[in-house]
Amino acid sequence: MKSIYLDHAATTPLSKKALEAMEPYFCETYGNPNSQHVYGREAAKAVAEARQKIAACIGARPSEVYFTSCGTEADNWAIKGAAAQYRDKGRHIITSVIEHPAVYSTCKQLEKYGYEVTYLPVDGEGFVSPESLEGAIREDTVLVSVMYANNEIGTIEPIKELCEIAHRHGALFHTDAVQATGAIRYDVKDLGVDMLSMSAHKFYGPKGMGALYIRNGLRMEKFMTGGEQERAHRGGTSNTPGIVGMSVALEEAMSTLESDGKYVAKIRDRFVKKVLDNIDEIYYNGPKDASRRLPNNANFSFRYIEGESILYSLDLAGISASSGSACSSGSLEPSRTLLSIGVPIGTAHGSIRFSFGKHNTEEEADYAVDELIKTVKRLRAMSPLYKEKK
């Protein structure tokens, strides 16, 4: 049976180049980068080089890149760190309703500790409007955190504009760029952000690696107390192979960013067109303007059927995608993002995200469309809602 992976927003396969670069740091150059002997110095050199590479990819200085264990950790640090550091200035935080749980749940947790959080609404395509930020920002707002690109519907937020508004009002700006990094070319200085999170395994790097960019001069509370690693702001022995792998993967992703983006978007567009041409009663969720959407993302709501059934039917046909309905994760709440853009709750249950990668082919996309058509037909024939409402 075919095996087609269309879930690159969840994770990507490790780049062979990154794997090769990581290999010596497991059994040969295994020293602790903080040790003073030759083993340690060699590992420290690798970490320093990796930091330089990553900094160069995003327009930062090496001293502004802090390694973390994942994107979620970077988000937690940015939000909790800024909240703790600037608690005497104010206790108001602004974020959006469509943030990844790494940001959203962190804000929810801060609410328990006396912080006030404003969740900015989004329009029908998932965009946060600069006007709504302007209206929500207050004198005691310490931090604004809005994602660079949405993980479910691919919306690319107007980060530069939002950041300018935050700064004009004396608030810091953080962006969760976990989906954006490796897919969108950006320069942190041009964006103007104070902090930015990324995750290696989203751009063909290893799992267990993330990074937080913290602008030089910005005082931030430590995330993990411990040793002197990461300028004494994030203790814990450095993951040398992970750090090296992340840097090689990001360099590789940046070197072919435009051509990979074009290639992936072409497959995605072909897929979307065929789906829309062949299946009725569906919504294509997210921005219609491709220039404002992640090139690899497609998200549909299929009326009258439920997402988990679609997901498992596709899985049986060898296609791996992702369900927007959290029924599959054991809760009955459908996707917060889809509800926020106005998808009716019943329909939101029947949503599927397809996220393409540079190793996918047009043939794979075509096969996936054919199987999707069959699946939707089969499940609608089974649905008590289909005939009734049509």
Binding site: Y304, I305, E306, Y312, S325, S331, M382
Partner: protein, 124 residues
């Protein structure tokens, strides 16, 4: 998440559709929760369920529970069908994940709702 039995039933559900000239129908669940199950039956004057079919909007566990429960009641009397519990559906499916137990409850409820409809309409 699911065992092989559940996936097998989900892949090839039995008794899917609507019984022609049904005299019992039960619809339970709602779209907001993401599960709707409808069972239709034809019950003969002796109170025996001659045929039963289902239509379900829901997850793989909901489809598998509907198919299994429907199969369990065909040929049974009303009294026998009313004795079928969600636990028996789960046993038949060789187990369901804890968060999917409600799907089997829905199947039990749908059977009861359909028989309830039949009883009420019979009296009238």
């Amino acid at each position: 998440m699911y065992n092989e039995k559940v996936m097998e039933v989900f892949k090839n559900p039995q008794h899917m559709g609507e019984v022609e000239n049904y005299n019992a129908i039960g619809t339970v669940g709602n779209e907001v929760c993401g599960d709707i199950m409808r069972i239709t039956m034809r019950i003969n004057p002796d109170g025996v369920i001659e045929d039963a079919k289902f239509k379900t909007f829901g997850c793989a566990a909901a489809v598998a529970s509907s198919s299994t429960a429907t199969g369990m009641i065909i040929g049974k009397t009303i009294d026998e069908a009313l004795k079928i519990t969600n636990k028996q559906v789960i046993t038949e499916l060789e187990g369901l994940p804890p968060q999917k137990i409600h799907c089997s409850v829905l199947a039990e409820d749908a059977i009861r709702a359909a028989i309830d409809y039949y009883e009420k309409n019979k009296k009238n």
